[in-house]
Symmetry: C2
Subunit: 251 residues, 2 copies
């Protein structure tokens, strides 16, 4: 396991729980390496030249910018090597081995929150039929939701994830700021946030859309924009998203 | 019950299930009036002058713009009358009765989706102690989450709801558009959307924030903006929200 961040931790734990032996953790941070090694009962190293060369599989789970640099220092005798990035192409691994692939678990990971892995979509890609079979068997042990997606489409999936997760979460935090300024507890929002996410199990987001912009209620939109006066930058976001919602109505 | 829309329907059903008798439904649309009257085993009328004058409570659940106009035609002998709007002040009811209030269930309602009412925050307001007690007793039968909020704060709560619900839902729909154009199924996003909403049960949205803007990963942001070329209006929203996330990091 090359890397000891959020994805490495959650993926490592899921693999271990399914009975797969994680041999060794590499991380430049000794604290992260040791923590994950303890969790997985594995060895660890902070020196890339000490990464063992006899593993069946190398999983590179690093920040995108670090992958190329770290990978080029590995010596793995053409063993199968995969990365876990939504944005990097599979080919970035070509120089270190002739057996390459990708395991991209499509979920948001926080170190402090445990996850049920079995329902998480895991996107796989590999450069040969055999490697694809290997990854499919392996990931099939930790999830019931394996899908094959190439590097080009994976980029778009990653981008869609920003809209489906990072941006909604930031909307929650804007809502929290509005409540905090009015001495109202964030807890008030939790049932609404939960229900909004639950709705799209059975309805498309377009069907589930509600609110002043969806109804074309320009009076409320005007009132809201006045209330946002004291929140820097909020007005622009409110206007822009409301305009998009209205436009979509007339498509 | 004055009105037969989403809120009237869900609130009416919850009241009926808790053993409260809904006498009569008024709606200008005969179809809506009849449907809700059937659900609640109540009478209905489409003529405002036929609204009975001997109810204990009148619940006005109409589009904001319609409230004033409809309410001014009522003759209710100073019975308690409330509206269910997040944006309208309580005082809009002053001319029809000396006993006025608000019952504002803070949730997103769709006619087609049944709800567990008991956890929904219900915000109440009333013009006297006795009226507040009445509303508190009544709403306490359908929810465990009753909170007293005045008209001024309720406006901000309603606004926060747009950020916590309407805008995240629109982000889901933008994500769906990105996937659809790449022939990827929307189902891929469901575990991510569910987990993103579940995260804020235990973490504040600021703690839960992930993604390229949170990490300050300008290379991915640049790549994403290029991918958004073919989606009109998406680039502006992506940029603006990403900039806000970055700024918040440095606060």
């Amino acid at each position: 396991m090359i890397g000891a961040g959020n994805v490495a931790t959650h993926l490592g734990l899921a693999l271990k729980e399914s009975g797969i032996n994680v041999m060794q953790i590499f991380s430049r941070s000794v604290g992260s390496a040791r923590t994950l090694a303890n969790l997985l009962q594995a060895n660890f190293t902070t020196n890339i030249v000490d990464v063992k060369s006899d593993a069946d599989l190398y999983i590179v789970s690093l920040a995108d910018q670090a992958v190329k640099n770290v990978v080029d220092k590995l010596n793995i005798n053409d063993a199968l090597i995969v990365h876990t990035s939504g944005s990097l192409s599979m080919q970035i691994l070509d120089e270190v081995s002739v057996n390459v692939g990708v395991i991209y678990p499509f979920q948001t990971f926080s170190k402090s929150k445990k996850l049920e892995f079995m329902t998480i979509p895991i996107c796989i890609e590999a450069n040969t039929f055999e490697n694809r079979e290997k990854l499919s068997r392996l990931t099939g042990k930790i999830s019931n939701n394996i899908i094959e997606i190439n590097s080009e489409k994976r980029k778009y999936l990653h981008l869609a994830g920003v809209f489906a997760s990072n941006f909604p979460n930031f909307m929650y935090s804007m809502a929290e700021d509005i409540l905090a300024k009015n001495e109202l507890p964030f807890d008030l929002l939790k049932p609404l946030i939960r229900e909004t996410a639950a709705k799209i199990k059975g309805l498309s987001p377009a069907e589930a859309q509600t609110g002043p912009a969806r109804r074309g209620d320009d009076q409320i939109i005007k009132n809201h924009i006045e209330l946002l006066d004291q929140f820097q930058g909020f007005e622009n976001i409110y206007r822009m998203i409301s305009d998009m919602i209205k436009k979509k109505q007339h498509e």
